[in-house]
């Protein structure tokens, strides 16, 4: 292959048929991995905010006793506190602009670590929500159920197995939600950026 000849043809390649948009408004929205993840996060934000509001109505829906309501309020307040903190972090990520004028390596590293950080934040939030939900469930159970019912249940031989199975099920479900979902939802973009970074770093 004669690269000099190719370079000459490259320079002389006609571009008359290349159309440039008439206005910026006609351009589609940006499609970098960061933009794609941001778009998903925005949809996720509304979903989670809706769920949070829905959880707030739980005492009405499930007709909580006064005792249970007083237990629910601090849990709900902690939940809102964590959610607000993470929503703020996601909002900062959402608004943060990136600079495409960096060299490619710096640019890709920025994308990679921003994506990774936000996926980790997402995972942390999921684990915290599960932990809070589970703790509230156990406490609500001990408050609402009669002490005898609890003692009778704990005296049964199958109690240990049932408890362990229930706990294992919950842990597996939280693992699925915290590890698999973000990986499936956001991980492919991270993988793609990492693969280009690896190609760049190859000696």
């Amino acid at each position: 292959m004669n690269f000099n000849e190719l370079q000459q043809q490259w320079n002389n390649e006609p571009t008359d048929n290349v159309r440039v948009p008439n206005t910026i408004d006609t351009l589609k929205e940006a499609q970098t991995p960061i933009d794609k993840v941001r778009k998903k996060m925005k949809a996720d934000f509304f979903m989670q905010a809706f769920m949070l509001v829905l959880v707030g109505f739980a005492p009405l829906i499930f007709d909580f006793s006064d005792k249970l309501i007083s237990l629910f309020i601090p849990f709900y307040a902690i939940m809102i506190g964590f959610m607000t903190y993470y929503f703020y972090k996601f909002f900062v990520f959402y608004k943060k602009s990136y600079d495409m004028t960096f060299d490619s390596r710096k640019n890709l590293l920025w994308f990679f670590y921003e994506l990774k950080l936000n996926i980790e934040l997402y995972k942390a939030l999921t684990y915290i929500m599960f932990f809070l939900g589970f703790s509230f469930g156990v406490l609500a159970g001990t408050v609402t159920k009669n002490q005898n019912t609890i003692s009778n249940f704990l005296d049964k031989k199958a109690a240990g197995i049932t408890g362990i199975a229930l706990l294992a099920g919950l842990i597996l479900f939280s693992l699925f939600m915290a590890e698999f979902i973000p990986r499936w939802y956001y991980g492919k973009h991270l993988k793609q950026v990492k693969s280009v970074l690896d190609q760049l770093d190859e000696e």
């Binding site: 571009t15 440039v20 948009p21 589609k28 499609q31 600079d99 004028t101 280009v196 000696e203």
Partner: protein, 167 residues
């Protein structure tokens, strides 16, 4: 339309060949190519202020174009269709002009089989950049840029040879 936007679009019109070439190297399908072209223009627009304030037009355009292409991923991964290269034409009996056109066509088809970084190396090389400039734009050392570029050239020649075509 604002003066700013007008100036920008005039600049894009002047350098549309550069954006077109990057898009053609990175995307084989016309729809994907069009999407990447738009993405590059959009990213250039977003960083237009930075360019006007600080960097040279060439540095700014090459970096934004290559970085946009490196981080742009089409929705569905389609493997380049190698068979189409063969089907296109037999070059031996054609006149010189067609021959040249076909060389570039074969080149674009072969390039589809390179990885994103290799495409960037070949693009910057064909744009006449030195090893030092290639290294600076990609964020690698000059030596690494030279080594990578030589390997990529060999790989490209191999691909074209496998397709039963040499030039």
């Amino acid at each position: 339309m604002k003066t700013n936007e007008k100036e920008f679009l005039a600049l894009i019109e002047k350098h549309k060949g550069l954006i077109h070439k990057v898009s053609r190297m990175y995307m084989d399908e016309p729809e994907d190519r069009e999407d990447l072209f738009q993405e590059i223009v959009l990213q250039l627009w977003k960083s237009y202020g930075t360019f006007r304030g600080e960097s040279q037009i060439s540095t700014w355009m090459y970096r934004v174009a290559v970085n946009s292409a490196l981080t742009f991923f089409k929705k569905e991964k389609r493997k380049p269709d190698n068979t189409r290269m063969h089907d296109k034409m037999d070059l031996k009996d054609e006149n010189d002009e067609t021959h040249r056109e076909t060389q570039l066509d074969y080149f674009y088809k072969a390039v589809q089989l390179l990885n994103p970084v290799e495409k960037a190396l070949i693009f910057l090389f064909l744009e006449g950049q030195s090893h030092k400039e290639i290294g600076q734009n990609l964020g690698i050392t000059e030596v690494n840029a030279r080594v990578k570029l030589n390997r990529t050239k060999d790989k490209l020649q191999e691909i074209i040879k496998k397709q039963g075509y040499e030039f």
